[in-house]
Symmetry: C2
Subunit: 446 residues, 2 copies
């Protein structure tokens, strides 16, 4: 394969987050406007004010742009893009029993490909290039990721409700997904096990997952402590809280990504810290479903790795991580009645380098550093949301901007969107297909 | 003056909110795609499936668009667009004393015009056409509103700290503003009195405002019960809570627009109901400044008129009311742990018809009805945020869309933005001036 060189030149500012969590802003170079970043195939090869243009295949003008690591969404269900606005403002039980589950019963692989495809376009347009996904028909989601050029960690959602036959099938499905897709698509796809939650997955399933996760050397993606009801359920069954129960059965380790974590006891927080569990904070979903407010400020104070997730669009209702960053910070501030909670800088790390850590990808993505994969975005600083640009750009990114401020999105060295034009998929055709598919799926509701 | 006719044709859906608060969606007409709205000068003249194009000056294609009333922002400080991202994640006192007040001391009329100009562009781009503003140099803000084509209710922020000289000047300033601008610019500008708050405005100022508001027949815009600290302050001084104190001195009436209302006792809620006080809910600012969560669900249950405000961009940090609608609803849901709190439909009314009521403009704006002013927006439904468009569009508008989904903005019959192109001001030039101005103002901080 021939080497491909891409040069981003004259970028006003670069943010690089190093392994010690410092964010670098080349503020003193603003007026020079001559910082350039060289991408060699899929990797960042050079960051300098003097890079020769000879031999470069593609030059991107970075004038009036901010270059930053692209965002990482550590919890979503991409095929649920079929269901945005299907039903809202309802009790969880009504929402699940009367809307989500009936329409999900009509799903197939092609529909999940379509849902994932829309989700991928939405993420590219709003600056996210890596996501952790849990759903069914994940083989089709993997194909959509391969075609769409993103990076993803995919999990087959495993539910057995203590039924042995179901359990066997879930393991078969999950292991097939690992064999077929783990480390595939130029390394853009990883596979995790995805036991749905300690409520929907039996003890046998959970211990089996731990064993096989070790065998295949893959991580585990699980929903934890989302609602008070589910905690009562576990308490009644095991006389322990969910993290205590999982600790007891030897399930917990540093490869576990726990989504939600809304209701946590002090002892559970200690377990999370001790076992180095990675947390995915989902403020939008937790607010919209009225689940509660996760004690993120406490977790961060204990140096627990907290990343950011949108959850599926049926409970958010979008995949815009810029919006999610704002929700994340503002919710912590009002909950603690402390305006210093979850600062803009902490929030941007949550959505970048901590996302990489949560997925075990911190050596590959999450910051702009030589040798890392070229996963990055250009944000238009010559826009009202980012103005005055002489003030804090980190503040603008978190508190003022939304995904529409993203101009260019690069993943694994490939330009997936440039000047707001998508280079993958056909948006108009996909949206037409989406309306047709959703209309059909909804017929079961009438 | 010659009559000007504008026709919006083939609009997929129309939402009209009537005086009984019903939202009409012409769902059954989607497939016909032939609803048209005729604007005659500044007013809605006809809504029908058959409007002749003869004699029409301007035709707007409504295909793949949703027509809805434009949004109304009932609390902001538009010149603060000079200060976005100036300082964040700080205690209120530090933020005010060390950042906001020092830079505000360098303000002048031209700078306030510039800040208001940026705010107006931001509002037009995100679908807001009417705002209630309180600041200094309001004469210049009025000029920016006149030039920018928006509708606004303007108040000179009155602060006397019990100093008689100051008080006299504030009344002079406010009365001049009324005489010069109330009902001017084709009726787009109204003036309210703007006593800043019961902390910063003396009893003499407040009673004087009530008297003069009656004399001039204008409303009153005031900050109320934003932080716990300010309530303690009033309690210590008067042995009453703020609304009780204002009630006692005869200040309260249905023409009072009270911003924030975060901390309210049951008795204060009763007073608000009894006196028909209009509330401006500012969720983004209340979260970011860690002020607290306003009991909006309770107020709505009591049929109190709650409208929506962004506050200034120094504490939000944008003027996107679509984002504010989502914050508004999600914050109530998580606070009450009830997903049915503040539904999408209630939220959209808050940002439209209730905004009109809060400003005493319910007979002019806030809904798409024959005879009302043509203040409306077209939202692009052929977008990912609004898809699948066969699902609830109200849900998409509140929970999924942001201001960038707005395609066309019309105020008082004038097209201020069409297909995302602004027809007023020069954005690039203004943003350059903004950076220069902010850089100068910030010098006092070094």
């Amino acid at each position: 394969m021939e080497t491909k060189y891409t040069l981003i030149e004259n970028v006003n500012l670069i943010t690089a987050i190093d392994s010690k969590d410092n964010i670098y802003w080349n503020d003193d170079l603003i007026n020079e406007k001559n910082i350039s970043v060289l991408i060699e195939n899929d990797k960042i090869a050079e960051i300098s004010s003097k890079i020769s243009k000879s031999g470069i295949d593609k030059v991107i003008d970075g004038n009036d742009k901010l270059l930053m690591p692209s965002l990482i969404n550590t919890h979503t269900h991409s095929p649920m893009n079929l269901f945005r606005g299907l039903a809202d403002d309802l009790e969880l039980d009504t929402w699940l029993n009367e809307y989500v589950w009936p329409v999900e019963s009509g799903l197939n692989g092609d529909l999940c490909y379509l849902g994932a495809q829309i989700a991928i376009m939405e993420m590219i347009k709003s600056g996210t290039t890596c996501f952790s996904d849990m759903y069914f028909f994940m083989d089709y989601v993997a194909k959509a990721v391969e075609d769409g050029g993103l990076r993803a960690v995919l999990s087959n959602g495993m539910i057995d409700f203590s039924d042995e036959e179901k359990r066997k099938n879930e393991f078969k499905e999950s292991e097939n997904l690992i064999k077929k897709w783990n480390n595939k698509s130029d390394g853009r796809i990883k596979v995790f096990f995805g036991p749905h939650s300690p409520i929907t997955a039996s003890k046998e399933l959970l211990t089996g997952v731990r064993e096989k996760a070790n065998k295949y050397d893959v991580g585990i993606n699980i929903h934890m402590n989302e609602t008070q009801k589910e905690i009562e359920n576990i308490l009644n069954q095991y006389n322990m809280r969910p993290f205590e129960y999982l600790n007891e059965i030897g399930f917990l380790d540093g490869d576990v990504l726990a989504a939600h974590c809304v209701w946590l006891s002090d002892n559970e927080i200690d377990i999370i810290k001790e076992k180095d569990i990675k947390v995915s904070y989902n403020p939008g979903s937790n607010m919209k479903l009225a689940s509660g407010i996760a004690p993120i400020s406490d977790l961060i104070e204990k140096n627990i790795c907290v990343s950011l997730g949108s959850d599926g669009v049926a409970s958010n209702n979008n995949l815009d991580l810029f919006e999610e960053m704002k929700l994340a910070s503002l919710l912590q501030k009002v909950d603690t009645l402390n305006p210093k909670s979850l600062t803009a800088e902490q929030t941007i790390k949550m959505a970048t380098i901590n996302g990489a850590r949560a997925l075990g990808l911190e050596n590959e993505i999450g910051s702009i550093e030589i040798g890392k994969k070229a996963d990055m975005i250009l944000v238009n600083t010559n826009s009202i949301a980012m103005s005055p640009s002489v003030n804090s750009l980190i503040s603008h990114l978190v508190y003022s901007a939304n995904g529409s401020t993203v101009d260019t999105t690069i993943c694994n060295g490939d330009i997936l969107m440039e000047n707001k034009n998508l280079n993958v998929f056909n948006e108009e055709e996909s949206l037409k297909n989406l309306n047709l598919a959703t209309s059909k799926l909804k017929k079961v509701l009438n």
